[in-house]
């Protein structure tokens, strides 16, 4: 009992510390810094708040294209990765050889900067150097393993049985995918999409080397960190928003349960 009470006291404090350190602290700091138009001397609180950071960021000719480019690249990369990862995850879930899954991790061991540096001569030779396509392909090396490995646990034996049942009841491949498979893996699918997008969105080294002069958000952000912290804070918030939203959404996607499994079966015509 004593130990239990002690832990009851420790846990809320620990949660508060963790939350402050990793959620409230970073976001709060960035919000204050982004709005601090005037912050001189050793004052704890900014002397003046405003939208200077936002104005400067928005007025920079590279920032808006960088955001658009990063969105386009991350979306394209994750969709491309999903198309390749879907059958791969199914195969890995059925195969169960750990070695195959581990082999997918190998590209993650090599620094992204090295991957970009190694790919850029090929892309130049193929005529796609310094293009969004080149960046997408370079990001794919890092994103594809994450998306695949996030999807694998979704393809459970129970889901396979449901699919077989749906097929027995006359559901075609498309209908099976729509009514059984996607609902069955939706949580892992959401996580895979969020993770893949975040990984591509955050790539710095690859985008820098492969992209040449193409503005990408992380590449544009770095110089501001030391030159103008207020603008950097604005861009940090922009940079932070999609991962937080997507991973938050992925976390609240409900697990496919028995009831939904039943409804999936019913919808196949039983």
């Amino acid at each position: 009992m004593i130990r239990g009470r002690a832990h009851d006291g420790v846990v809320p404090i620990a949660l508060a510390v963790v939350a402050v350190m990793f959620v409230v602290g970073p976001v709060g700091t960035l919000l204050i810094q982004a709005a601090a138009d005037t912050w001189h001397g050793s004052a704890l609180v900014p002397q003046g708040f405003g939208t200077r950071g936002l104005d400067v960021a928005w007025g920079d000719p590279l920032v808006a294209p960088a955001i658009v480019n990063s969105l386009v690249v991350a979306t394209t990369t994750v969709l491309l990765a999903l198309a390749l990862a879907w059958p791969a995850a199914r195969a890995l879930a059925a195969d169960r050889r750990r070695g195959l899954q581990l082999s997918l991790l190998v590209p993650l061991l090599v620094p992204p900067l090295a991957i970009g540096e190694g790919l850029s001569p090929w892309f130049l030779r193929l005529g796609i150097g310094d293009s969004l396509l080149a960046i997408v392909l370079a990001h794919l090396v890092t994103v594809l393993p994450y998306v695949t490995l996030a999807l694998v646990p979704g393809f459970t034996p129970a889901l396979t049985e449901l699919e077989h049942s749906a097929a027995t009841l006359g559901a075609g491949p498309l209908r099976r995918t729509r009514t059984v498979t996607i609902p069955g893996v939706r949580r892992h699918l959401a996580l895979a999409l969020a993770l893949g997008f975040t990984v591509s969105w955050s790539q710095y080294g690859t985008s820098l080397v492969v992209g040449g002069g193409i503005p990408m958000l992380p590449v544009v952000l770095v110089p501001f960190v030391r030159s103008d912290p207020q603008v950097a804070a604005v861009l940090d918030l922009v940079f932070l928003l999609p991962p937080l939203v997507l991973l938050g959404l992925a976390a609240i996607v409900p697990q496919h349960g028995a009831r939904s499994g039943g409804s999936a079966l019913r919808s196949t015509g039983r």
Binding site: P26, A88, P121
Partner: protein, 478 residues
Amino acid sequence: VNAERSPGEGHSLQRGDRDQYGEHPQDGLGRGGPDAQEHIGDDRLASFGDAADEVERTVVVERAGSSFGQRRPGEECRAGDVVGGQERHRRQASVGLRIRDADHEPGVHGEVRGDIDERAAVRCTGSARDDAVEPVQQPVRQPQTERDIAKVGGDRDARADADREAGSGDGLGPQPGVRGAIPQRAQRTIRHGPELSIEHVGHTSRRRTGVPLGLVPALTVLILLFGGALVGLVLGSLRPGAITGGTLGIRDWRSLLTDADFHAAVRFTVIVAIASTAISAFVAVAAAAALQHRAPWLRGALASAVPLPHLVAASLAVTWLAPGGLAERLVGVLPMQVIGDSRGAGIVLVYVYKEAPFLALLVLAAWDQHTRDLEEVARSLGAGPVARLRDAVLPRIAAPLLAGSLVVAAFTLGATEVPLLVGPTEPDTIATYSLTTIRIDGPVARAQASAALVIVSAMSMSLGLVAAMLHRRKRAER
């Protein structure tokens, strides 16, 4: 026999034999021809003398199920071979029954588990008309004893064995009046059962060797892009523009390996990677030790740190810890300069901030109820906190902690953005060295930069190799 099957047949039960009419497979005894061999059970070859032994070793399909598909004492079914109901039993005469003895138990259980894993294989055991064969969720474990074997002699099949044993040599039929004793050859046949079983199970749960078809597109893309990147990097290190037609040479490797700045970069990178990883692991274990109760709550809170990009973490570090930053506004002058510290304090701090929660999540996942039970046992035996951690907890969390630490170390070796933002101007890390080289010396220095990246890639992949070997060793130990 197995080799003669078409792939679609899969299993003896689907062959369609007299069993479907409710007759016991033994009824097939005495019939000639190749089919008859398939009906020859584990113990029915005894009367054929030495030649029977050879047949036993080649016949891989056993069809010697007892009536109604139930296991006889002394026999062990495959996991999937369980009968659903009395009506079904009659249609399921041979579901891969096999006879085992204690000597073969380990192998047997390995097979049974393999069969459980192979759900498709288990399903194949059912006849086409009867899908009542249900997979067993728990492996059947029934140690065999001589007493069990004696029971075999007590039932109908064993009596038949005895009959045949009595007439062994040249007798093809039972000899009247010789009953009761356990025939030597019948026992030997029983012991040979697992040999047959191994071959048989090999058909259904054979270790796969090829690459699954679904994995081919993803692997092809990865091999092309990742393999292309490695080849391009190495070629680029041998000569800038090597892919576009330049001549190869090791001049840039020489200049890299004799560059004092590169030596400093290697030292700095290794120190930062080791320090970041070790401190992150220590903090992770300490945090997990303090907070492992109510782990589900904490996992959610800790997990919120994982999506924070390294770039944002580094940017926050600059906001807080740079001269004149928020930390100095709060507490006055900091005791040391963190941002830009030539010993890498800023880089290490950012990595610990980012990687410790990741490692703590891994540790918390391994620090389960069983580990806590072990701790309690150690506590009841008088072990102190350090002894409990060392003897009860660390063995349980070592594998995920080590694997996670190697991943962290591999990442910190090659990451760019954090050293670029919070690291010193000198020395560089290997990654920033390559960027600096290109920035200062221009495209001419690209080969040297590529060579540096080849080295850091090799270091990272070596760590991955170590992790894989440790994983393999751990599995082998299990």
